[in-house]
Symmetry: C2
């Protein structure tokens, strides 16, 4: 039994769709969440700043002495997971491997795997690498869907006519390509799941990387005998680097529960936390 | 005659739509442009990080000894112009005041002024403040159009059916509200001008803040006798904080000329430039 919190970070509020699954699966865990809303989105950025920002986020969360850090961001999971894992002294779980694993299991029956994600996630090739390792020879089709994130953040839902039109434009050309599995490789996409599914047509199984990740976190904690005790009522504490009101308002749609208080961390604080940690490591 | 460059910065590549007008109006000027593509977009951010980032950008450009710094970003112009003007020792021109001035002139015939911009620009109230100062009693209707930026960045043009549908959804409800002038209060919006105009219907004059700003820069340089000599062929040099290839590819649509070379500045460099400048000021 272990009452240390599970720490989670994301470029913004999308990671709350992972936390939603985590809260249902592990209701006894305390969760500390950091959303880097001052520098969101990461999905159009290249590797160096994503690594730089991810390390600052992870360092900030270390002050809460977490038993595990979950990287609830597909872009960071694709571009910076080894760097984060090396920098922090606790187990790190990303969203990419659990999602790829679930898709690979479903793909044993043949057909292509469709990867939907941001520009950075798709062009990184990280999902393809994981998938071809897990299911050698599998055909992977990557499709960046840049408008899905701003559509969700604007408050639109799967039944919105503009969402449906965009989903059709991105995905209808894939009909007839024998797609059997589609990975929602961005934490915003589960909110548009019905529109994505409708545009792909029947017979395509949808893998929600966030849901799979919550299971991976449970398994990692159970294996290390680090689950919290079943009498404890888990809490959630949210920090952001900008705009707490917007985070609370839009984020509650991802979390599917109200977000009571969101704490603002100014840029100086997480940059300073990262500098302090680096100095300590170097013995300065 | 003055051969120092004109420096321009923006949160990303949108500012190039301002530079396009500047290049046509002042073909003898050298231009140095910085796009903060590592931290784009600013339009969903609050004032403190926007001020913080804007100061770092301005400090970075000071090393080129510019005769004027143009803030080609509506969000920075709305949230951080006094801070930038105070921090640098050269004249600073933003996009807000020239756009507001043009709209106020057109609004003397009555009717409402429509302000289209990002969430941050519209909610700042900065355009409203300038407009009511310039045209007391004028009615201003602010409409944030969050999807326009990602639509443009995805390569879509005004004739795209999804652009047309989004523009209609945002703007058709304004018909019948006696709108006479619409300000394109974001440097991305001129690329969707025809779709915006069609959604608003006939009789609405469109003000492009970027075009007005190029005239304000010319006037400021002329008044200070700081224009370059007419024998000189002006150059343009572009720096970005991330993803130079993407900047060159998408940016040339804004500039309407090819962008030959884009230089990458890592985050350490502009953060360090800002720190050095602050240290010098403090005499450290």
């Amino acid at each position: 039994m272990n009452r240390q919190p599970v720490a989670v970070f994301d470029s913004g509020l999308g990671g709350l769709s992972v936390v939603r699954h985590l809260r249902r699966l592990l209701p006894h865990e305390d969760i500390v969440y950091f959303g880097d809303t001052a520098r969101v989105p990461y999905g159009i950025k290249s590797q160096p700043p994503v690594v730089h920002f991810a390390l600052e986020n992870a360092r900030f969360l270390q002050q809460f002495d977490p038993k595990l850090i979950a990287v609830a961001c597909n872009t960071v999971s694709a571009l910076a997971l080894p760097e984060v894992a090396e920098a922090v002294g606790v187990p790190v779980v990303g969203v990419l491997e659990p999602g790829a694993r679930a898709a690979a299991t479903l793909a044993v029956r043949g057909g292509a795997i469709l990867l939907l994600g941001t520009e950075a996630t798709v062009s990184s090739g990280a999902y393809e690498a994981a998938l071809t390792r897990l299911a050698p020879g599998v055909r992977v089709i990557g499709v960046p869907c840049p408008l899905f994130v701003p559509l969700v953040e604007e408050g639109r839902v799967a039944s919105d006519p503009i969402v449906a039109a965009v989903a059709r434009e991105y995905l209808a050309p894939l009909r007839g390509q024998d797609v059997r599995v589609a990975i929602l490789g961005c934490t915003h996409y589960p909110l548009l799941r019905d529109a994505i599914s409708a545009a792909l047509g029947v017979g395509v199984e949808i893998v929600d990387s966030g849901r799979e990740t919550s299971h991976a976190i449970r398994d990692a904690l159970a294996a290390a005998d680090a689950l919290s005790d079943p009498q404890h009522v888990g809490s959630i504490r949210c920090f952001v680097s900008d705009n707490p009101a917007r985070f609370g308002r839009i984020g509650s749609r991802f979390l599917e529960e109200p977000i009571d208080a969101v704490e603002l961390v100014p840029p100086e604080a997480y940059v300073a936390a990262a500098l302090d940690a680096a100095r300590q490591e170097l013995g300065l």
